[in-house]
């Protein structure tokens, strides 16, 4: 079996509001799968359905081959869940949090202790073992939360915004932990708003908007998809309204955006635009200070696919 998660037409209605609309996708074993979408797009609702927190109105999903509705308990045995906020028991110690999770998963006493000790070491929390979890820093709480999700030796880890609100050091540490866990064979389902995180962490990405999946692909293929979002960024030794007007008239220029002392010219053919820019500079006696061709970022693709770009004035 190579598929870890399979969603078949997952749908969720809240009264008359359709939050998730027949969402289908597959996540392969050992993959880091990113799930992106603007607020209210249906990301959390989809994750809630996949992890058993909420029941689908229509459709179903399989986790490691187990149906989330008909074999809910078996499906849940395969997963670990880290929600967007660290839902640890702040009154219990770090150790007690891990042990309680082990009890919840029916892990025998000796095995429970062994795994808890191993996770404390792996997540660098040994010194905080007997400390109430409420006294841990935000980064440590996050690490404890992930450790709790791994108590059952899960095959699939659902991570919802794992690095949001953390300092740079904690972000780097958690990303490294996630990569290490993935290298050991764990399938990761990563929900994030952070495009850079999705870009550097995920093997594939699904973009959801208004309850529907609008794209599923690798980050690089997604970027290549939108040729018209390619751009040339140029900076001249002097600027002026005349320059901007001339740039708009360039052959192949779809749109011009002034970004500080630079101009970004969106085009589906950067080569044509570079040549036209050189010609323009020569004719007007301008010196080119810098010139770069830029592939669309994942953020550009996201804004394009979700339609937010039009609202905020992006390409």
């Amino acid at each position: 079996m190579t598929v870890a998660i399979e969603a078949f037409g997952l749908t969720k209605w809240y009264g008359k509001l359709l939050a998730v609309d027949h969402v289908s996708f597959k996540v392969s074993k050992g993959e880091i799968f990113g799930f992106l979408g603007p607020n209210g797009a249906g990301k959390t609702t989809t994750v809630r359905m996949l992890t058993g927190m909420s029941r689908p109105s229509e459709g179903t999903a399989r986790i490691m081959g187990f149906d989330i509705q008909r074999e809910a308990v078996r499906a849940k045995e395969q997963i670990g869940v880290v929600p967007d906020i660290s839902n640890i028991y702040v009154e219990l110690t770090t150790w007690e949090n891990l042990v309680f999770t082990g009890k919840l998963y029916g892990i025998p006493r000796d095995e429970r202790r062994r795994r808890a000790e191993g996770l404390l070491e792996l997540f660098d929390l040994e010194e905080k073992k007997d400390e109430p979890a409420g006294r841990l820093s935000k980064g440590m709480r996050r690490r404890l939360c992930i450790a709790m999700a791994l108590m059952n030796n899960s095959s699939v880890l659902f991570l919802d915004e794992p690095t949001t609100g953390l300092d740079v050091q904690s972000v780097i540490k958690i990303r490294e932990l996630i990569r290490n866990l993935n290298r050991q064979g764990l399938t990761i389902f990563l929900t994030t708003h952070n495009m850079q995180e999705a870009n550097i962490m995920c093997d594939r990405i699904a973009i959801i908007n208004k309850g529907r999946i609008v794209a599923v692909d690798t980050p690089e293929r997604l970027k290549n998809r939108a040729r018209r979002l390619q751009s040339v960024v140029v900076s001249f030794d002097r600027a002026g309204t005349r320059v901007e007007e001339d740039l708009r008239k360039l052959q192949g220029a779809a749109r011009v955006v002034k970004e500080g002392d630079k101009y970004r010219i969106y085009t589906s053919d950067p080569s044509d635009v570079v040549q036209a820019l050189c010609s323009l500079a020569w004719k007007q006696g301008l010196r080119i200070v810098s010139i770069n061709t830029v592939k669309p970022s994942l953020e550009d693709i996201f804004l394009e696919l979700t339609g937010i770009g039009e609202v905020v004035g992006h390409a």
Partner: protein, 247 residues
């Protein structure tokens, strides 16, 4: 059988965790201990009621308020901090989670209601039937704890929003269940209402245990409490599943 043992061990783990986390919370102490105590004091002061009668009333009130306060406080609080989601994503049924919550309420109610019994004994009270008192305490705690868990199915993250409707039921129960006025002294409509109240059976067993007087009799009271326990449990599971479907 293995599955059943697994569910039972999860229920025990949930109860143990609730004991550690919530028993000393101000809301549990307030709704489960101080509230019935203040109501008791306002009833007892200046009335010249004997120790055994007074303790019976306090025990029954404490059983009702303390036992039903744990589930109704902990579940909305856990929804608020998202720890309730841990239960929903764990490989266990909702039944064992609710059983654990009920067990935590049962132990809390039973432990708190033993305090007035102890005070009564120090003050010279005599227990007429320890076995009836013990059965009354355990069964009443279980029934009222389940009632609290049932009310906690109200989809809210605020304990106050569960407490309001719960008190809307709990406080009138005090007046129709022989707590302040013995059932035999109630008019016919009052006695009919009393038969429909789980607190009447609880009060009757506690009175039988402490004072030796009874209205329904031990068997009827035990059956009455068991019937309500089953009803509350079934309704509770059904409501919680309904809420999960809607969420």
């Amino acid at each position: 059988m293995r599955r059943l043992l697994r569910e039972l061990s999860v229920a025990l783990a949930v109860a143990e965790k609730d004991i550690k986390v919530y028993y000393a919370k101000p809301s549990s102490i307030m709704f489960g201990f101080l509230f019935p105590l203040s109501m008791f004091l306002s009833y007892i002061v200046g009335r010249g009621i004997g120790v055994d009668k007074a303790i019976s009333v306090l025990v029954a009130q404490t059983l009702l308020f303390a036992s039903s306060s744990i589930g109704s406080v902990t579940i909305p609080m856990e929804r608020r901090v998202k720890t309730f989601d841990r239960f929903l994503t764990a490989p266990v049924t909702l039944h064992s989670i609710l059983m654990g919550k009920t067990l935590a309420g049962l132990l809390y109610g039973a432990a708190v209601s033993i305090i007035p019994v102890g005070i009564g004994l120090i003050a010279g009270m005599r227990v007429a039937s320890p076995s009836e008192l013990a059965v009354g305490i355990v069964l009443s705690s279980a029934t009222f704890s389940c009632m609290g868990v049932m009310f906690a199915s109200i989809p809210t993250q605020s304990p106050g929003q569960v407490m309001m409707p719960l008190n809307f039921v709990r406080i009138p129960l005090l007046f129709i269940s022989g707590v302040f006025i013995p059932i035999e002294k109630l008019p016919l409509w009052g006695r009919t209402l009393a038969a429909a109240s789980p607190l009447s059976y609880s009060m009757d067993l506690v009175r039988a245990g402490i004072e030796g007087s009874k209205y329904f009799g031990a068997s009827v009271s035990i059956l009455g409490l068991i019937a309500y326990l089953i009803i509350f449990l079934m309704v509770s599971i059904r409501f919680h599943i309904m809420i999960q479907k809607r969420e």
